[in-house]
């Protein structure tokens, strides 16, 4: 084991907005010299799919900034989630915020270790071939092997 600082992250959410914190923090930590590992479980597994189809929903999220007030019942209409997602993506692009794909690639290049939770892979009937290459599959004990020696441990 190297004497570099270590960052362990558990990524549990699979929406577009919640995809950012694990990948931003992991890539930045690597640039600062940390050994970094992300453990993806439950909905977080979506962040490791070959083809990312992450969406954002205003439902149940009254804090989401909207260009105009939209009543909750309208937010629940079919197609609203897709509209919100494309609006969010357009805004991010305009502001120079990296795409999730790009940040994930930067993590891979920086040798961030990506571990998918095997139990939830089985639970959702995912196949190993659904995921990008170069990741590992493991369980809770695998996570603790690294997290137990980490300087920072985040649950996202």
């Amino acid at each position: 084991m190297s004497d570099a600082k270590k960052l362990a992250i558990i990524a549990t959410k699979g929406t577009l907005d919640w995809a950012y914190p694990p990948f931003i923090l992991a890539s930045t930590a690597s640039a600062l010299g940390y050994d970094t590992q992300i453990f993806f479980t439950f909905y977080g597994l979506q962040l490791l799919k070959k083809k990312l189809c992450l969406q954002v929903s205003p439902l149940g999220n009254p804090a989401m900034p909207m260009p105009m007030p939209v009543p909750v019942l309208i937010q629940a209409l079919p197609g609203m989630q897709a509209i919100m997602t494309s609006m969010m993506k357009a805004k991010m692009k305009k502001k120079g915020v990296a795409s999730v794909d790009e940040l994930r690639q930067l993590c891979i290049e920086a040798e961030v270790k990506l571990v998918a939770c095997q139990m939830t892979v089985d639970l959702f009937d995912f196949k190993h071939s659904d995921f990008i290459d170069g990741i590992e599959f493991g369980g809770a004990a695998t996570f603790f092997e690294f997290a137990g020696q980490s300087d920072i441990c985040l649950y996202i």
Binding site: I24, S27, T28, A31, G33, G96, V97, A98, A110
Partner: protein, 76 residues
């Protein structure tokens, strides 16, 4: 070109891209060389200061002019 060896234009990029691009560029440089970074992200002022402190690369200069931020970093 007298006071730096390489330049990175990170204009228009937002956190954490300027830092990540800078780190990548520094990887290809040799110890003692100076990298000049141009950024438009206001958060990069604190971030490059923190980056330098944590990585040991020296932040020689940090200035703002006309909405752009300029950093000189000397590779460790």
């Amino acid at each position: 070109m007298a006071d730096f060896d390489k330049e990175l234009d990170a204009s228009g990029l937002n956190c954490p891209l300027p830092i990540l691009r800078a780190k990548k560029t520094l990887n290809d440089m040799t110890s003692g060389q100076v990298l000049r970074i141009i950024a438009t992200d206001p958060g990069s002022v604190k971030d490059f200061d923190a980056f330098a402190k944590q990585t040991g690369n020296e932040l020689l200069n940090s200035t703002e002019e006309g909405g752009k931020y300029y950093f000189l970093i000397k590779k460790k």
